[in-house]
Point group: C2
Chain length 207, copies 2
Amino acid sequence: MRESDSPEARPYHHGDLRRALVEAACRLLEKEGAGALSLRAVAREAGVSPAAPYHHFKDKSELLDAVAHEGWEKLDVAFQAARDAKTSPPERVRELGVAYVRFASQHPDLYRVMYDCSRDKADMPAHVHENEESAYRRVREVLISAGADPSDEIGLELATIACWCAAHGLAEMTSFKQFEPLKEALGGEEAFLRGVLAHVGVFAKGL
Amino acid sequence: MRESDSPEARPYHHGDLRRALVEAACRLLEKEGAGALSLRAVAREAGVSPAAPYHHFKDKSELLDAVAHEGWEKLDVAFQAARDAKTSPPERVRELGVAYVRFASQHPDLYRVMYDCSRDKADMPAHVHENEESAYRRVREVLISAGADPSDEIGLELATIACWCAAHGLAEMTSFKQFEPLKEALGGEEAFLRGVLAHVGVFAKGL
DNA sequence: GCGCTATCTTAGCGTTGTTCAAATAAGAAA
DNA sequence: TTTCTTATTTGAACAACGCTAAGATAGCGC
């Protein structure tokens, strides 16, 4: 029981440690929270020595990158449902926003890692951010399908960014306990999210 | 030169160390960034031993709280100008948003500390957040003066939160290098901020 | 003067990220 | 097969961190 018990390819004598480490990190993140996510703890959880990860990641931050990558993929899955929802295109924009925020509120520590990675590598070339990029493009597509003018390059980009900013801001705030009375008054988190997003132009009318 | 050279009250035999520590922390934050802000580094910067801070703050996080407190005060100063601007009330809402985001983009590391403190104490009683609260109330006031219906308690709160979320989201994103081409196309950061905020209902039309 | 108490220092504990030489095991070459 | 090579893992170590405990120091009221 010293490594991931998945029956996958184990190309070297200790199995696919890289994969095992990322999974251990995700497990720790859900169990103990972001504060407990040290490289040593991840190695411990995976059952290897503290130095082992350095043969698969040059840094702690590179491990976190891999975790974040996983996170963006999970978010993309959550986006699928919203995009394929059988509602009007403008409503789909809202669904996308709600899906985003709900993802963040269901996996707060993972979301934190994802965002910290994005910020710490904010000045790196674009190809580093492939997953963010793909989520970004998805928002953009839904905005177009909701009636945004695709020929107005700048306007479209501004709208997409506004979408993303509002969703990110709300995602980081929903957990604030100060809002709980309001959530109850509205009858749940879902209604709260929709209520806030309704005040954000892009979500309210799809541009 | 072992402590702050301000000629202020020094009630105990080493001067007002608490104050000196907060100032040293702010100095470090601007010089070296958030990553270099260790308790020991702050003590070093203030010219005292690593254990000295523990007689003024029970924790590292309590020092950061004090730094964040300072930050909210500085933000409030930045808000003053926007509130007193001689423009139409709806325009003032936009000014507030721009002031908020500009503050965050001018003091990114301080803003990070401020926000991390808010999140880490998100489940604490309200009086802990007096400064956030006062900034929140300021937004609320400006919204009312811009035409929001003060009797619609819930609607007003939702609008305030939407404001804050959009501003916070944008504040954390403006530094992303991906947006730089767009900023240039629009002729500067200011235009970029206004462009994004224009897509956020609350900012665009003051509710 | 005296003691009291707050303040600061020195020393130390446990943990972290990271490096490096040595050990180990898998795959290729003989 | 045996040997060689190379990728992987370990164990020991370093500096830096947050934090604690015991002692030194200095200001205060008596």
